[in-house]
């Protein structure tokens, strides 16, 4: 569904992405793992077209995303740090997004807004929100339009255990519907039971892309955390 071919990106002298080629298919739940500054977020941003790669190309459903914008209607993106117009209220932000992404026969998926209890905060301005509440807004927006692909950048960072449980359940439910889910994270243990594939990145390079079964049999470790740790030490 999403194929990146030899994507490279430099920020000044820093090589944020170095010849990264990955293939992501429908129904997979992929964990994008790597140390801080390994290029996970940059990769996600190039897929979204927010960062333009220096070389290489990305296709979405077989179409090159360069100069395209319509493909983004099939993507729900939850950024690592959600940045929203400071003097708009939660309600206004939600309404604006509904208005901008309005499509015919579209039923918004407001489950997360309800289960996070955002309805009670609808009049609050974005600048007054805590980091966790912001994350809740970002998550609600990502799932709101029932997209085929979900890209979640550090989804559980900053969420309390209750909220992150709700989010996890929601991710599982969407995975059951056969959607492609791409999660970047370094809190590994939380992801253990929902992911099917692991992409490991280091210093902008793709180290490996394996299914979780192969990873387990290769390392002899059942837990994802330990499997990754044994790779990092070798």
């Amino acid at each position: 569904m999403i194929i990146t071919s030899n994507v490279s990106k430099k920020f000044g002298k820093l090589k944020a992405l170095d010849d990264v080629s990955v293939t992501c298919n429908r129904g997979e739940c992929i964990a994008l793992i790597g140390p801080n500054g390994s290029g996970k977020t940059t990769l996600v941003k190039t897929i979204l077209g927010m960062v333009v790669p220096d070389s290489g190309f990305i296709t979405f459903n077989g179409k090159n995303i360069l100069h395209d914008w319509k493909y983004r209607k099939d993507i729900g993106y939850m950024p690592q740090i959600g940045r929203y117009p400071e003097n708009m209220t939660i309600g206004q932000v939600l309404d604006m997004m509904r208005d901008i992404r309005h499509a015919k026969n579209f039923i918004p998926d407001e489950e997360l807004i309800e289960s996070f209890g955002l309805g009670a905060l609808i009049q609050k301005r974005m600048r007054t929100l805590s980091g966790g509440t912001r994350q809740k807004v970002s998550a609600s927006l990502a799932f709101l339009f029932n997209p085929d692909v979900l890209i979640l950048d550090e989804p559980t960072a900053g969420l309390d255990p209750l909220a992150s449980g709700i989010l996890k359940e929601k991710i599982v439910a969407e995975k059951e519907k056969g959607k492609l889910i791409l999660i970047t994270s370094h809190v590994l243990s939380e992801l253990d039971d929902l992911i099917t594939q692991v992409i490991y990145m280091q210093e902008g390079k793709l180290k490996f892309h394996k299914s979780i079964e192969t990873l387990r049999s290769d390392t002899g470790e059942m837990q994802l955390t330990r499997a990754i740790a044994s790779i990092m030490t070798n």
Binding site: V52, W69, R72, K73, Y84, I100, R101
Partner: protein
């Protein structure tokens, strides 16, 4: 695109600076016209204030607005929207609200007290200047990441267009006083939209006699229909070029 323009204009109106700017222009132009018994003299006083204030407010406000909307822009870019339409909507929203402020604040008093060709010319150039400086602000802010640097840059640009440019011209004229530069001056004036506007308005006012021989040359050129048309084409170019450059930069910018 219309939806984004709607949100941009709603946002600009919410922060009230544009409303204060409109009120300021309105109070100033009404009081100038009320103080002078000769309305064309009033127009001349208004001209100098407008040529200073309108570019300054347009360029500084637009730049700060673009920097403060970085969150909004980032949010929109990850949505199924064309980058081009995001940028053009920001431009249209800013240009429309600043041009409207000018029209209400200065245009309506001009139309009431001085609905002459001179007044109309002042109204038109004022509207064009508002839009031109929004477009320059957009180019300056898209090419500079740092907010303080960006704002400093546009203030320097404003200083250049309003004050330094005239100084440079004077310097050149004195240095090359032995050469016939009068005709070249017509071409040089195209490099500054504020000067071009001033010349266009002054020539309508029949005070060009005060400007000596150069004034006569200007009169010969800008006094004709073709001259005026050319001047307006140059002003439109001043509006389109920075906008086009900024658009090209924005469509490949990393956010």
């Amino acid at each position: 695109m219309r939806k984004i323009i709607k949100y941009v204009i709603a946002d600009i109106l919410r922060n009230k600076i544009v409303i204060a700017y409109t009120a300021f222009l309105l109070v100033m132009s009404l009081s100038i016209f009320a103080l002078e018994d000769n309305t064309s003299k009033g127009l001349l006083s208004l001209l100098n204030i407008i040529l200073l204030i309108v570019p300054l407010v347009s360029i500084v406000f637009s730049t700060i607005y673009i920097y403060n909307s970085s969150e909004f822009i980032e949010l929109l870019v990850s949505q199924p929207l064309k980058r081009k339409s995001i940028w053009l909507s920001l431009f249209s929203g800013l240009a429309a609200s600043l041009a409207l402020s000018f029209f209400i604040g200065a245009g309506i008093p001009i139309l009431i007290y001085q609905p002459s060709p001179t007044g109309i010319m002042m109204l038109l150039t004022g509207l064009l200047l508002s839009v031109i400086f929004v477009s320059i602000a957009l180019f300056a802010s898209v090419t500079t990441r740092d907010k303080a640097k960006g704002i400093g840059k546009v203030i320097l640009l404003w200083l250049y267009f309003s004050i330094l440019f005239d100084g440079l011209i004077l310097f050149l004229l004195f240095q090359f006083a032995d050469y016939p530069l009068e005709k070249a001056m017509v071409a040089v004036s195209a490099f500054n939209p504020i000067d071009l506007s001033r010349i266009l308005i002054l020539l309508q006012m029949d005070v060009s006699a005060l400007m000596g021989y150069t004034g006569a040359i200007f009169r010969n050129f800008f006094g004709t229909q073709i001259g005026i048309a050319l001047a307006f084409i140059v002003l439109v170019l001043w509006m389109m070029t920075p906008l086009w450059l900024s658009l090209r930069r924005f469509t490949t910018k990393d956010l």
